[in-house]
């Protein structure tokens, strides 16, 4: 086919070529659509899997058991339960034996390990709340052990599932919302674990990060955008900030380990060290967001302020910074959300210890929510799968809230000049 023939409309060759080109156009467009659809489908698959697996983690399986306290061999003084030592009294009272007796009495010998450590704790809490229970035969709903819980949710051993079926037939099993999951800290028994300790640790860590990274980031952004002379130092600062924003987070963990722990001897596993490490990681993100926000404030504002006699500092702090603040805040919140979800650097500085009490301050050992998720994901007990996914749901809710806030701020306050 020569060139003249190719562009002749009479013999149809041109039309067939146009048709081919249009088909290619449609194919290309379809490929784009498929790419977007696949990406969104992955997101949906991930969220649905987590939600499906995790929603059960907010509930627990409870079994009804009748305990005849006066006739049991339990020696507990109701008066001691009202005192300040109530927790210790209950813990040393030997409730396990009573529970085991009552369970086998109600549901046969197969129910020997119906109740676990979490159940004992729950019974203790109920007794402290209502010491009058001790004077009578009481019907109590208690969370079951993790082995039975897994069986009740359909994934357990055959014996355990038979036990659950027998109990269900007598109305002895129910599902209830697990408030302890929101109130407790880590535990060895999956039915007794909670995320409050990790959430508190996350909160303290983010507080330290915020208190350090936000002021330093904003001040550095102001200097680089408004005052820095163009020279090699400024270039070096700029390159190192842009590079730090892309350095793998685990490297910051190594820095934290070498400098804060091994050199400065700050307390291990503490939110203080975690916050410091994450602040170094978040600061470049805030600087970059801050510079973009400051850059988008039009020069006419600066000229007007300078024109009426403001000093350069006053121009920046009285006029440019307030106008740039929404943009800076958006970037800061996104940076904080990233810090909140960060795991690897915190593993390096030892925030992976088993910590059964929520931290009271920034120098006490703590863990954070993502690390808690990582720790639970390593557990062998099947019941932890649900708890891990439930913790992931909580983490994702926080991330969504923070990102939503950032998007809202951007749409609400962003000015187009």
């Amino acid at each position: 086919m020569n060139r003249a023939a190719a562009s002749r409309w009479t013999d149809g060759s041109m039309e067939s070529r146009v048709r081919k080109r249009y088909a290619a156009e449609r194919r290309f467009r379809l490929a784009g659509l498929i790419a977007v659809a696949l990406s969104v489908a992955f997101l949906a698959f991930l969220l649905v899997t987590m939600a499906w697996k995790g929603l059960g983690g907010f509930t627990q399986v409870e079994a009804r058991v009748a305990i005849d306290f006066p006739r049991s061999d339990l020696i507990l003084d109701p008066a001691a339960l009202r005192g300040p030592q109530a927790q210790e009294t209950v813990a040393s009272a030997g409730l396990e034996g009573v529970l085991e007796q009552s369970a086998t009495a109600a549901y046969g010998p197969a129910a020997e390990d119906l109740f676990g450590a979490g159940s004992v704790e729950a019974l203790g809490d109920q007794l402290i709340a209502d010491p009058a229970l001790l004077n009578s035969r009481a019907e109590i709903w208690l969370p079951v052990s993790s082995r039975v819980e897994v069986a009740a949710k359909g994934e357990g051993s055959p014996e355990a599932e038979r036990l659950v079926a027998a109990m269900q037939a007598r109305g002895g099993v129910r599902r209830a919302i697990d408030w302890g999951f929101l109130k407790n800290a880590d535990a060895t028994d999956p039915t007794a674990v909670g995320i409050w300790g990790a959430l508190k640790g996350s909160f303290l860590t983010i507080l330290v990060t915020m208190a350090l990274a936000f002021p330093i980031g904003v001040l550095a952004a102001i200097y680089l955008e408004e005052f820095a002379p163009r020279n090699r130092w400024t270039d070096a600062i700029e390159v190192s900030i842009n590079n730090l924003a892309a350095v793998p987070s685990i490297i910051f963990g190594l820095l934290g380990l070498a400098v804060f722990l091994n050199f400065m001897h700050l307390p291990r596993s503490a939110p203080l060290v975690g916050g410091l490490t994450l602040a170094l990681m978040t600061m470049p993100v805030i600087v970059i967001a801050g510079r973009n926000a400051i850059k988008s404030v039009p020069p006419s504002i600066r000229d007007a302020a300078l024109g009426v006699g403001a000093s350069k500092m006053q121009v920046v702090f009285h006029h440019v910074l307030p106008l740039a603040l929404p943009g800076i805040l958006t970037g800061t919140i996104i940076g904080m959300a990233r810090a909140l979800g960060e795991t690897a650097p915190l593993l390096m500085i030892g925030m992976r210890a088993f910590i059964a009490n929520p931290p009271e301050g920034i120098t006490q050992p703590a863990t954070v929510l993502p690390v808690q998720i990582f720790l639970w994901s390593d557990e062998v007990d099947r019941a932890f799968v649900e708890k891990t996914s439930a913790a992931i749901i909580v983490l994702l809710v926080f991330m969504l809230l923070m990102n939503g806030l950032a998007i809202y701020l951007r749409n609400r306050f962003e000015q187009r000049w």
Partner: protein
């Protein structure tokens, strides 16, 4: 007197001096025209009262710890201490904690004897340091208060302070970079004094388990890092990119060129959410859902060695994680191509896809490539996905269903669990970190330069 009391005292002095300056300047203002507002006078005085004293305190705190330690070690009670440096440090640590009331009693009986010495010495030294700092605060307050006057340019002085603060804040970035480099270098040098750099960089055997007993099998430990870097590249730069580049690039093209604006307004935040999901969630997803699927797929394809910790599972999920990153970088560079180029191509009769493939993409290529390099740098430094979904066996294999290990997995593995400092095993993590840092540094520098050059070309 502890240092925190001195700290509080300094802040009170600064506030009081600032208030004094404020009232003095205000009373001057009623008679005469001041150069600066009273609030600047107040800030000037408060800064001079607080900053030098706080600086002194910050310098004193570590010096004091050293001094107290040396005094305690030379005290008669310290004669009972064991010779081993590690045990001595543990006992000192316990004594320190007992002295500061953090714990009731130590595990070692020696620490109980040392605690009172510790408490007394540190009380003496913090008294001295605290008094000196308070003295400096008072001196600064009086000196600066005397300067408050009608002619005094307090605003300019405060602005000089502010300027120093701004400069200091921006220097922290350089300090962090230096800190990373120095701490990694320092620990790596100690590692390389035990293991030769040539073995580390070119060796193909990785088994860092150093033995507890000397006669144990494999007691030497092998530190050849090639298999780790191969695993990292295989997962992060090959499998993940095969997923992320086509999907990310095509999503960006579709969203910028074809999608109606309503769809774009919905899809972009969706992709941002994908980018905001914490990596530990991706890791859990990979380990719990994707890895079994991939293993079953491998088994059904007749690959008997299909592992439940396959490179493919980790790489796939990592690719999904990188999609929004590639997409937003390509989005930016496609948007930066001047409209005139697009219009010219369309005016010649090219279809939209021809314009995109033959005009827009070649013009945006440097930016896209820069974005992909940044994505690779992020993928090879990604930790949680590979820690949770990839294996620990250092294999050099091309089989995506087999298990490989990565640099970041090994760093986590080496530094968690029982740590004995000074051992080659622990220090190897820092050497791996150094190499990882240098690789990502080079990738980032190339990418950032490419992206910046290209942006300038069209501006």
């Amino acid at each position: 007197m502890s240092l925190s009391i001195a700290l509080a005292a300094i802040l009170v002095i600064a506030a009081a001096a600032g208030w004094a300056a404020f009232s003095r300047a205000r009373s001057l203002r009623s008679k005469d025209r001041l150069h600066s507002l009273p609030v600047y006078h107040a800030a000037f005085v408060a800064l001079w009262a607080a900053v030098p004293a706080l600086f002194l305190l910050a310098l004193w705190a570590p010096v004091q710890n050293q001094l107290v330690e040396s005094v305690v070690l030379s005290s008669p009670q310290a004669g009972a201490l064991p010779d081993s440096a590690m045990q001595r440090d543990v006992i000192l640590q316990e004594a320190r904690e007992i002295a500061s009331g953090q714990r009731e009693a130590g595990f070692n009986p020696e620490s109980a004897d040392l605690a009172p010495v510790y408490a007394a010495t540190s009380a003496r030294y913090s008294m001295a340091g605290g008094m000196a700092a308070i003295l400096v605060a008072l001196l600064g307050a009086f000196w600066s208060l005397r300067r408050v006057g009608v002619e005094f340019r307090a605003r300019n002085a405060v602005e000089r302070w502010l300027m120093a603060v701004l400069l200091g804040a921006s220097l922290i970035a350089i300090l962090t970079t230096l800190g990373i480099l120095l701490s990694l270098l320092f620990e790596s040098l100690r590692f390389f004094s035990m293991v030769s750099p040539a073995e580390f960089l070119f060796g193909t055997q990785w088994s860092p388990q150093t033995a507890i007993r000397a006669d144990q099998a494999g007691s030497s430990g092998a530190f050849g890092s090639i298999p780790l870097f191969w695993g990292t590249i295989f997962i992060g730069a090959i499998i993940a990119m095969i997923v992320a580049i086509p999907l990310g690039l095509m999503s960006a093209i579709f969203l910028t060129q074809y999608a109606p604006s309503a769809m774009r307004a919905w899809m972009k935040p969706m992709l941002e959410i994908l980018a905001g999901v914490p990596t530990v969630v991706y890791g859990y997803f990979a380990a719990l859902t994707v890895a079994p699927l991939v293993r079953d797929l491998g088994l059904s394809l007749g690959i008997a060695s299909a592992s439940s910790e396959s490179a493919l599972a980790a790489g796939l999920v990592m690719g999904i994680m990188i999609i929004p990153f590639v997409s937003s970088m390509s989005d930016d560079s496609i948007a930066a191509v001047p409209q005139a180029m697009r219009d010219g191509s369309l005016a010649l009769g090219a279809t939209k896809s021809e314009t995109i493939r033959k005009v827009v993409l070649p013009a945006a290529l440097p930016g896209v490539v820069g974005g992909i390099l940044l994505a690779v740098s992020r993928a090879i430094g990604e930790t949680m996905i590979v820690v949770m979904a990839a294996g620990l066996a250092a294999n050099m294999t091309l089989n995506p269903f087999a298990s490989v290990t990565t640099v970041t997995t090994q760093i986590v593995q080496l530094l968690t669990g029982d740590q004995e400092f000074e051992s080659a095993k622990t220090l190897a993590a820092f050497a791996l970190g150094l190499v990882l840092f240098l690789i990502t540094l080079v990738l980032n520098l190339i990418a950032l330069t490419v992206v910046r050059r290209y942006r300038e070309a069209y501006e």
